[in-house]
């Protein structure tokens, strides 16, 4: 059992001379055998956080731990000996493969880099491709000859090559058709169940996260605003932002349209250049009170296992 734990992560970029606080004080963990969904609108900082958690980007502040071993230090340096434990799968598989290298060679690269011989690597590549449900003959083909779904499986095989404890998947099914999407999600579910891999699943699509995550973390403008077991969060979303997200996913019900009176979240996802004072959600919040404009809410626990950053989080329970 391994746990990847990010603590107190801050990360700012500069855009036209102004600081963009992409990740603004976040704790998040993923353990073996669980799928954690990190969900939020575009630009909320979820990909930046994901890259930091795999050691591909450095935080300005904060640390990342693997159990009791420090993986990313406060100065941003990464413990290379631990790198193989955490692997990243990107959204667009075509962009993440070298177009001139066969799929098999790309999948075997991490093994060769770790000193595995040519024969051994080849054998292992075949095993890995089979594990992700690909015909091993695809090993000798170029990436451009595979479909998006096939290549995403190959990308997962490549990520599995160093035998990581944790996979971080950044929008792995965003560009896929529903049928292919279900296959990739099932592959992740199988890896979790059969191999006990822990998965951080980053997505803007609450519907997809809803389908596979054991725990969810909802991110808004660089912060986690609500987190807890999927069950609990969906049974009673306490943060107004989580609620708005939930109410905006079409459910397949035809009454969605008739509910013209459902309050939609106004406005667009804001930019992290101008983070509002007090509660950063207050300009879009349908229930904001005066206090929200000045007082920044922190995550507070709600038993059994939920945490919510909202001054009015109790009231969701009172009236449900």
């Amino acid at each position: 059992m391994t746990t990847l734990r990010a603590q107190g992560i801050h990360r700012a970029f500069r855009a036209s001379g102004r600081p963009v606080r992409a990740v603004d004080g976040v704790d998040l963990s993923v353990s073996s055998g669980e799928i954690v969904g990190l969900v939020g609108e575009s630009g909320c900082g979820k990909s930046t956080l994901a890259r930091i958690m795999v050691g591909l980007d450095r935080p300005d502040q904060g640390e990342v731990w693997l159990d009791d071993r420090r993986f990313v230090r406060p100065d941003g340096s990464v413990e290379r000996a631990l790198r193989h434990e955490v692997q990243l799968v990107f959204q667009d598989p075509h962009a993440s493969f070298d177009p001139r290298r066969t799929v098999g060679r790309s999948v075997g690269m991490p093994l060769r880099a770790a000193g595995v011989g040519r024969q051994g690597a080849r054998k292992r590549v075949i095993e890995l491709l089979e594990q992700v449900g690909l015909d091993p003959v695809l090993a000798d083909r170029l990436p451009s000859t595979l479909s998006g779904g096939q290549l995403q499986r190959a990308a997962i095989a490549r990520a599995l090559a160093p035998e990581p404890a944790i996979l971080v998947c950044d929008e792995p099914v965003a560009s896929m058709d529903v049928s292919v999407r279900a296959q990739i999600l099932n592959l992740l579910l199988d890896l979790r169940r059969e191999r006990g891999i822990g998965i951080l699943f980053v997505s803007h699509d609450l519907g997809v996260v809803r389908r596979i995550a054991d725990r969810v973390a909802v991110m808004y403008l660089g912060r986690i605003v609500e987190t807890g077991s999927s069950e609990a969060v969906w049974r009673l979303p306490r943060h107004p932002y989580t609620r708005s997200l939930a109410a905006s996913i079409p459910t397949g019900s035809t009454s969605w349209r008739a509910r013209g009176s459902v309050p939609r979240l106004e406005g667009e996802p804001p930019s992290a250049v101008d983070i509002p004072s007090g509660c950063r959600f207050h300009p879009r919040c349908p229930i904001a009170i005066d206090r929200c404009r000045v007082d920044d809410p922190v995550l507070r626990p709600f038993p059994p296992d939920v945490e919510v950053a909202c001054h009015l989080a109790e009231q969701a329970g009172d009236v449900a």
């Binding site: 296959q183 107004p240 005066d290």
Partner: protein, 378 residues
């Protein structure tokens, strides 16, 4: 206002309620010739019929490559040069495919508004969004100068663009994705069309913005009485906004029925699979205990259009030898049309009556309203 310019046989077309449908498509076929002359031709649309009334939303749903976009592009006259079209498309009483080119462009320009997935793509980057809409108003409604600008601002306001006078001065790239899509919808409305064709208009948007834009489109249909054809790969989106859903498979319509009935009791095995894949909720065991370990999958790939037999047969759990030999015709079925030899038996098939996918949380429980949040201020 219905601008039926040149009157057709059967009297004036400018009456308040023209007797023709907003859009009538018969036996539409689209074929792409292979560009390099080596590959085979692709039959993208293989004979489809559609009828739309004003104030109606029809959603075309299906997997990638099923011919949804080709259908829309054919209606809008935007197919690339290597495509050929046949069939008839009646718009405002004209069979536009039979009209000479200039007349066809005029009827289309006035009668059809088009909205794409990437709003950037349909908005000229070098024009401010105001001048872009002014232009449409000049060409199709003869409005100029201050009158045009006033109408442009009214259109933007109608489409939920706040501060329209200022936004009209902006270039498309200066606006967020959601605002650009609102502008694109305003531009599509400018000529006063009877039909709006929208190809995945919310696919690139965040969930909360998608909901806003869908609300806008549905509101326009109700208020302006336009007919909306909404193309989407997401059956849940279709169910949310459409009156009728047409499920496309390999260039044909597999099922076309009122949205509620199709979602509740699909008549085609492909619709059953799409529905299982589309719904956002986590599948549960039959007896409601514990969570299933896997999601419903539809294996294999869509067959090319134009083969023998039912094109869904290779992936269909109900396929028979007959299915593989003879393509099923589109026939009346419970309020609509279904192309499946076994549509009548589908009701007894496990997975149809009791969907594997069930919402665990009644949505009402998560609407701020239903939960009764306390009033604002305090």
């Amino acid at each position: 206002m219905a601008a039926g310019g040149s009157a057709t046989a059967g009297g004036p077309t400018t009456s308040a309620r023209p007797d023709h449908a907003a859009l009538e498509v018969r036996d539409l076929r689209v074929r792409y010739r292979s560009i390099d002359d080596h590959g085979p031709d692709v039959l993208a649309v293989d004979g489809i019929d559609l009828t739309m009334d004003r104030g109606e939303v029809l959603s075309l749903v299906g997997e990638s490559g099923s011919g949804k976009s080709a259908t829309l592009l054919a209606l809008a006259g935007l197919l690339p040069a290597n495509a050929s079209v046949s069939g008839s498309v009646r718009l405002q009483g004209h069979d536009i495919l039979a009209l000479p080119e200039r007349a066809r462009a005029r009827v289309r320009g006035r009668g059809i508004g088009m909205v794409f997935q990437d709003p950037g793509g349909s908005l000229t980057p070098v024009l401010t969004v105001g001048s872009l809409i002014d232009e449409v108003l000049l060409v199709h409604r003869g409005l100029q100068g201050a009158a045009a600008r006033a109408e442009t601002e009214a259109l933007l306001a109608r489409c939920g663009v706040g501060d329209p006078a200022r936004r009209a001065q902006a270039y498309p790239h200066q606006l967020s994705g959601g605002l650009r899509q609102r502008v694109a919808i305003a531009a599509a409305l400018a000529a006063g069309p009877e039909v709006i064709l929208a190809d995945e208009p919310t696919t690139a948007l965040d969930a909360t913005v998608q909901a806003q834009v869908l609300d806008l489109l549905v509101g326009l249909v109700a208020d302006e009485g336009v007919a909306l054809v909404l193309v989407t790969h997401d059956l849940a989106v279709a169910a949310a906004v459409a009156d009728r859903i047409a499920v496309m498979y390999a260039g044909r319509i597999a099922e076309e029925r009122p949205a509620g009935e199709l979602m509740e009791r699909p008549g085609h095995p492909y619709t059953v699979a799409l529905r299982a894949a589309a719904l956002p909720f986590r599948p549960r065991d039959r007896d409601g205990e514990g969570i299933q370990e896997r999601l419903p999958e539809l294996r294999g790939r869509m067959a090319a259009a134009g083969g023998t037999g039912c094109s869904f047969a290779p992936r269909c759990p109900l396929a028979t030898d007959h299915c593989r030999l003879v393509a099923p015709p589109l026939e009346p079925f419970e309020g609509g049309l279904v192309a499946c030899w076994r549509a009548g038996e589908l009701a007894e098939w496990p997975g149809v009556e009791s969907p594997e996918v069930e919402p665990e949380v009644p949505l009402a429980a998560i609407e701020p309203q239903a939960v009764g949040w306390p009033g604002q201020g305090a």
